[in-house]
């Protein structure tokens, strides 16, 4: 899906440098600014590389030339004001945006070196290599057990032993096993919201994905359930590569290794979480993460 060339942004490398204060103003004025990407990010081995990615909803551009590597086996948090394109970026990674008719894109992403937007890419196979958890829990109208093994079922797995094992491993991984182990055959819709969200996480990790995409996984949960899901993300670190959208700065600082700050469809600053929260390059970033923004 090549974009018309007249809407292509100018080459950022040649752009003049801006005074730190003016960056967001410049972005709002429609100008292009370079992203500040900390050194340490590029030293990590990336599992997912986003490469000059642009996306349009109809005439409206929602993502502007996003270039960011996502490190392997680390938790990367995406933060930014509402409507800045975090969900859009996440949904672009597993090509869920293909389902939206008006979407056009340019640029590419690579999952462990395999192009995501190449013409020859099998979208179904690609999605099987990723897991996604949505803002609102969306368990399927079936039993808890079937929810967890859904990805295997659609692959035609029938071996009860394999399914049982995956089910238990995923539910344990999602810290839900003890609560539901006696009612696996019950409808998943009878679980509480927090349990449903952890079930969705279990479903997402059942097929051992290469990347886990979490879109505000705690936004519909109470503090206790949120705490459980955060603990869970902590445990997943090291095993899975996680890309997580969040609006909660404490959550980002507690759970993530890297944090990316987005604004109006641009990547503004991206670096290790400790640096972003304690000594960011840009004052805008500091203002946002400390809540003095806008």
């Amino acid at each position: 899906m090549p974009a018309p060339s007249d809407t292509q942004p100018p080459d950022t490398a040649a752009s003049p440098t801006f005074a730190a204060d003016d960056r967001l103003v410049a972005v709002a004025a429609g100008m292009e600014v370079p992203s500040e990407v900390h050194e340490q990010v590029s030293s990590e081995k990336p599992v997912l590389e986003i490469d000059s990615f642009n996306l349009w909803y109809g005439q409206k551009q929602a993502l502007h030339r996003i270039t960011m590597p996502i490190p392997e086996c680390k938790v990367t948090a995406l933060v930014g004001p509402s409507g800045c394109g975090k969900s859009t970026l996440l949904r672009s990674v597993n090509r869920l945006n293909d389902l939206v008719q008006s979407v056009r894109i340019s640029g590419d992403m690579r999952l462990n070196g395999d192009s995501i937007y190449d013409r020859g890419t099998d979208v179904i196979e690609l999605r099987k290599r990723m897991g996604m958890v949505f803002q609102k829990p969306n368990p399927f109208p079936m039993s808890i057990y079937e929810n967890v093994v859904y990805a295997l079922r659609i692959d035609g797995e029938r071996n009860r032993g394999v399914l049982d094992e995956v089910c238990e491993r995923s539910l344990r991984g999602a810290a839900l096993w003890d609560e539901v182990k006696d009612r696996l055959a019950d409808s998943a819709l009878g679980l509480s919201g927090g349990q449903q969200q952890r079930l969705c996480i279990a479903r997402a990790i059942a097929a051992e994905p290469e990347v886990l995409l979490l879109d505000e996984p705690c936004s519909a949960l109470d503090p206790i359930a949120t705490g459980k899901v955060e603990d869970l993300i902590q445990e997943l670190r090291g095993t899975y590569s996680v890309l997580m959208v969040t609006h909660n700065m404490q959550q980002a600082s507690r759970t993530s290794d890297y944090t990316a700050f987005m604004y109006l469809g641009r990547l503004i600053e991206y670096g290790p979480t400790t640096e972003i929260f304690t000594k960011p390059i840009l004052r805008e970033t500091e203002a946002y993460v400390t809540g003095r923004f806008g």
Binding site: N94, I124, N138, A151
Partner: protein, 519 residues
């Protein structure tokens, strides 16, 4: 409004079979009437206050020439309820009201007086009835079987002629087989004649004599009597027994007397079978069409045109569907099937098999008629499946069809069932198109029976809704049949209700499985 309608139908329908007291009216003109009071009204009187009058069900049609008579209050001298007044349901000629007088065996009086006569009658009647049923069974089943064998042999001859010509050995063999079967059939028919004659002769020995309220003696064979009762003598439980007996006959027997008496079993069967077959056809087609429209067709002018067309189909008068069913299913599809597979029947006696109305064609016609209902309901059900679920499924790596089959359809199932329920309710009460495509006033052979191949979807059938029309408005004595109309209507409503309750129950079970919990 609806409740009032249903209560009215239910009350009238349930009351039909309850034994009502028989009252003897002594009139000023010296006549005496014996009958049930069925109605009461006040009419204007030119000179004086309005007078009230009664509608009395007198029956004894062969004597009185009418089933009902209006009696002015002023003309009545005396009213009483004679203990032995008896109502008798006969096989033919409608009901009879009178007092039992004499019981005859072999033409000789065997008992005199109401009580003795009636005791004798109740003792003999069950055996007489069972002999009657035996004879009828022979007439219907055994003779029917012989007729079918003869016809099959005849068709085999014609088929052999068509396939191989008259000079072929096959033809000769078929002719020989037919001759053999004819010989055997003649033998069997002779045996049947003997058996039925014996049964009927035995039954003819018993006769019962009644005297009417006007003192006329009437003698009738016991075998002609379906049942008799003395409502004035009966206790409450005795009345209940008569009531239940009449309901039982109504539900499980074939109709008698131009459908105005007896049972309606073939019509119940036809209604239920047709509705279910219709549902079996309309469900997959409707769901597939809706799936295509909602999930696969890209939204464009063509899709909207199809949608508009479907909505318009829902507004087409149902008789138009009947005409289409007759023209397309019977005369095109049916005739085509006949030409391919039943040529012999056409050649032998020009009798179409599928080329005329029948259960299958009627069900298909109604399936067509109710298709828009199912499509629209299914589309709505599909649209109500939240997008988040589809996305969740896609994100797991499911394809489109997998998502539809595993997530969307199960979620939409209750809504689809609702559409099907509406379709069934609409289809079961439809009469106009059915009259063109296979519903008959009387069709004693059910489309399913013990005769190979057991299911005969080409057969014509009876339907309760059509029976209402036929009994209520086409019957020679429509007033006498009027209570039946209410009973049949009640039954039709009850059957539709039962079908719907069953469907609602299934839907409820499905829904419980997919119940969404909000938090």
């Amino acid at each position: 409004m609806i409740t009032g309608l249903l209560v009215f139908i239910t009350m009238r329908g349930l009351a039909t079979f309850w034994p009502v007291p028989l009252e003897a009216f002594q009139l000023a003109d010296d006549r005496t009437l014996l009958g049930e009071v069925t109605d009461r009204e006040r009419i204007a009187n030119d000179d004086g206050p309005p007078i009230s009058r009664l509608l009395v069900r007198v029956d004894n049609y062969e004597l009185t020439g009418q089933h009902y008579e209006w009696v002015d209050d002023t003309a009545v001298v005396n009213i009483e309820q004679p203990a032995w007044a008896t109502a008798v349901e006969r096989l033919e000629g409608g009901r009879f009201h009178g007092t039992p007088q004499t019981f005859y065996e072999d033409g000789e009086p065997a008992a005199e007086g109401p009580e003795a006569t009636w005791n004798r009658f109740t003792a003999v009647h069950p055996q007489v009835r069972s002999r009657y049923w035996q004879a009828r069974g022979i007439d219907k089943h055994d003779r029917g079987r012989v007729q079918r064998e003869l016809r099959a042999a005849r068709l085999a001859v014609v088929q052999a002629d068509l396939d191989r010509g008259q000079d072929s050995p096959t033809y000769a063999a078929a002719v020989a087989a037919e001759t053999e079967i004819q010989r055997r059939a003649a033998e069997e028919v002779r045996r049947f004649d003997e058996q039925t004659a014996a049964l009927r002769d035995e039954n003819a020995r018993y006769e019962i004599g009644f005297v009417t309220a006007d003192g006329i003696d009437v003698r009738m064979p016991v075998a002609d009597i379906v049942r008799g009762w003395q409502p004035n003598r009966l206790s409450w439980s005795g009345k209940l027994a008569v009531y239940l007996d009449r309901w039982q006959e109504f539900l499980v027997d074939d109709p008698r007397e131009a459908n105005s008496a007896g049972g309606v079993f073939p019509a119940i069967w036809g209604t239920v079978a047709m509705t279910l077959i219709m549902a079996v056809f309309v469900a997959p087609f409707g769901v597939l069409a809706a799936l295509y429209l909602r999930e696969y067709a890209s939204s464009g002018p063509i899709t909207s045109a199809v949608r508009i067309a479907i909505n318009n189909l829902a507004g087409v008068p149902s008789i138009v569907y009947g005409a289409f069913g007759l023209g397309f299913f019977c005369y095109v599809l049916g005739a085509g099937i006949d030409e391919l597979f039943f040529e012999a029947s056409l050649v032998a006696d020009n009798q179409p098999v599928f080329g005329t109305g029948g259960l299958l064609w009627a069900s298909l016609t109604l399936a067509l008629l109710t298709l828009p209902v199912v499509i629209v309901a299914t589309e709505e059900a599909l649209a109500s499946v939240p997008n988040s679920m589809r996305e969740g499924s896609y994100a797991c790596g499911a394809g489109k069809w997998q998502t539809i089959r595993r997530i969307v359809l199960p979620r939409a199932l209750p809504g689809i069932m609702t559409g099907l329920i509406l379709a069934m309710a609409r289809g079961a009460g439809e009469v106009a198109p059915l009259m063109l495509v296979g519903v008959k006033k009387l069709a004693s052979d059910l489309p399913i029976d013990g005769v190979f191949p057991f299911i005969h979807p080409e057969r014509e059938f009876m339907h309760l809704a059509y029976l209402i029309y036929d009994v209520g408005f086409q019957s020679p004595n429509s007033q006498a049949a009027r209570p039946m109309v209410f009973t049949i209507t009640f039954l039709l409503v009850a059957i539709i209700a039962i079908l719907n309750i069953a469907a609602v129950w299934i839907r409820g079970r499905l829904r419980r499985r997919f119940e969404t919990q909000q938090f």
